[in-house]
């Protein structure tokens, strides 16, 4: 009896499978969509290809050969020029500013998100409202008062001048995303830890942090990308070459190297390399970091 039903179910399942296959088989390949997809790929790749091959040409090759043909004798001389033009310094400045902004931003945002989700009271409530408002305001509009404050604090032309406002600007979106994830942690877990006599501080680091670690990584990457590629703060808050970060150095290289376009493009490649490496190593985290908060 049991066997018979099994067999019956088997045929039924197979029949369903067959009808499903028929459904799938009926839809023709989407030629138009495919064509559009390849055209867009060409548009994306062309500038990237141009930058890479040009950075491998010497000056004579750049002026003499077809712009879209790769060099017959590729050279790394432009990369040498860029590295000798204090590139390592700019790179390190970018690393310092990025880490110096992202680590404190994530720590204070995580604590704030924890308080917003678990706590109550007027201070926490109004802080939450402020952060939410921060999401709707174009904060770039505040660069003039920020410039004023930084000069008055004698921080102009220091890396700290870039770090402090970057932390502040990272807080609203970070708190929003982290609190969304913290809300999913079951209350019972906190309750049982509290009954064990743990303090809120212990619960935050020992319970909440490990549970929302993916969100913390996402938000760290999101902020790191913004700070790493940031241009406006370095432009208005620093001046001397030894305080330059990478995006600003690209802009400065344009003036420095003038007609040596291959060297400028070599600097573009070098400044992007760390993110390409990150993309190859941790694509999923990077992708979720970029769209942080827009799909949840």
């Amino acid at each position: 009896m049991a066997l018979a039903t099994d067999a019956a179910q088997g045929t039924e399942a197979r029949a369903r499978q067959r009808s499903q296959r028929k459904l799938v088989g009926r839809s023709m390949p989407n030629f138009l969509g495919g064509l559009g997809g390849w055209v867009w790929l060409a548009l994306i790749i062309l500038p990237v290809y141009y930058v890479v091959i040009t950075s491998l040409k010497n000056q004579a090759g750049f002026f003499g050969s077809n712009p879209l043909a790769p060099s017959t004798s590729p050279t790394l001389v432009n990369y040498q020029t860029v590295l000798e033009a204090n590139f390592v310094r700019y790179f390190m400045n970018s690393v310092i500013v990025t880490l110096g902004s992202v680590i404190p931003a994530v720590v204070v945002s995580f604590m704030a998100a924890y308080a917003v989700v678990r706590g109550s009271g007027r201070i926490i409530g109004s802080a939450h409202t402020l952060f939410l408002m921060g999401l709707a305001i174009p904060l770039q509009a505040t660069i003039i008062p920020i410039y004023f404050m930084i000069t008055k604090a004698h921080l102009y032309d220091t890396l700290l001048a870039l770090i402090l406002p970057s932390i502040a600007f990272a807080i609203p979106i970070s708190v929003l995303i982290l609190s969304n994830f913290l809300r999913d942690v079951p209350r019972e877990l906190f309750e049982s830890m509290r009954l064990d006599g743990c303090s809120e501080f212990t619960m935050m680091w020992r319970l909440a942090l490990p549970l929302v670690r993916p969100a913390v990584v996402t938000i760290a990457i999101y902020n790191a990308l913004h700070v790493w590629n940031g241009f406006l703060f370095p432009l208005i808050l620093t001046q001397s070459p030894d305080k330059r970060v990478l995006p600003l150095s690209l802009w400065a290289f344009q003036d420095e190297f003038t007609v040596n376009i291959p060297a400028v493009l070599a600097a573009v490649v070098l400044s992007t390399l760390p993110l390409v490496v990150l993309y190859v190593l941790a694509r999923r985290q990077l992708v979720s970091g970029l769209t942080a908060g827009f799909n949840k």
């Binding site: 459904l23 204070v108 704030a112 802080a127 402020l130 609203p172 241009f231 690209l250 573009v268 992007t272």
Partner: protein, 305 residues
């Protein structure tokens, strides 16, 4: 077991004061945000009523800076350029990223590979993108002569008629990948059963797109468009490096106008007035688009799934 897992109301009342984190946990973030975002926001309003050249003393100016900012014909032009870039960006980017999002959400292997490559522009900083396109669009050493197509060998960035379209194209090149990701995520959340039902009813691909995909993506479209609109108030660095607002004032949009007024023309008062305008526009648009999204956001779109 179940009693252990349930919060105990009696204890909750007794421990009400001790339970929950104390307010100090929010204080570090609050201090940073107030100091470097809220105070500057009030500061920009204050400075818009003063005279300041960026170095010397700040003097009260009443409405002078506002008069300067608002009667300057460049300001009106900057507003028009901003609106043009905003509208054209939406018109260009929404359909492309929507279609690419639907395309990359498909299951075919080659689509996944293409999606990996589509992402590449997002790795470049705006400064890098601008420099790359400057070189690529060069009429003598760029893609025009490279492809041997004379039409492409134009002085793209030097012509006031063409430059706006170049800027819109470069913005699309840089940001469509991001919006594609958002749409891809949105499409993947649509239950497969909807499409199965439609297929059984004999709906074709185009019909499925217009009757299932598009309506289901309503909120994704609103989110993505909001980001595009607010983003066009912040396309500062890309345009600054690409054209510096030129030729003439052809691509001098509001944020750039603010920067150049303040830090190049040394009129921080007028620049602050422009900053206030920027905040008001941004806030207004954000609220408007929120309203457009409707209050029914919580209503389920998945009924019948």
């Amino acid at each position: 077991m179940s009693t252990l897992l349930k919060p105990k109301p009696a204890m909750k009342v007794r421990g009400a004061r001790a339970e929950g984190p104390s307010a100090w946990m929010v204080v570090p973030a609050l201090v940073f945000f107030v100091t470097f975002a809220v105070v500057p926001l009030l500061g920009v309003l204050f400075l818009s009523f003063t005279n300041w050249n960026g170095l010397g003393a700040i003097t009260w100016a009443g409405l002078d800076s506002w008069r300067t900012a608002l009667t300057d014909s460049v300001t009106l032009n900057a507003l028009i350029v901003t609106v043009k870039i905003m509208v054209y960006s939406l018109v260009v980017q929404v359909p492309i990223s929507l279609l690419l999002g639907v395309f990359t959400a498909g299951n075919q292997r080659y689509r996944a590979v293409l999606a990996v490559l589509y992402f590449v522009p997002l790795l470049l900083s705006s400064a890098a993108v601008a420099i790359a396109f400057k070189a690529l669009l060069d009429p003598n050493f760029g893609m025009g002569p490279g492809l041997g197509i004379p039409v492409l060998a134009q002085n793209w960035l030097g012509s006031a008629d063409l430059v706006l379209f170049v800027v819109i194209f470069v913005i699309a090149w840089q940001f469509v990948p991001f919006h594609t990701l958002i749409y891809q995520g949105g499409v993947r959340q649509i239950p497969a059963s909807f499409y199965e039902a439609a297929q059984i009813d004999g709906a074709g691909r185009v019909q499925q797109f217009f009757h299932i995909t598009l309506p289901q993506l309503k909120y994704t479209i609103i989110t993505s468009s909001t980001l595009m609109v607010l983003g066009s108030l912040a396309y500062f660095d890309l345009i600054f490096v690409l054209t510096a607002g030129g030729p003439g004032y052809a691509t001098r949009l509001l944020p750039l106008h603010m920067y150049l007024t303040g830090f190049r023309a040394n009129d921080m008062g007028a620049a602050s007035a422009l900053g206030v305008i920027l905040v008001v526009i941004g806030l207004g648009l954000a609220l408007l688009l929120q309203r457009l999204g409707g209050n029914s956001r919580s209503a389920s779109q998945l009924e019948g799934a």
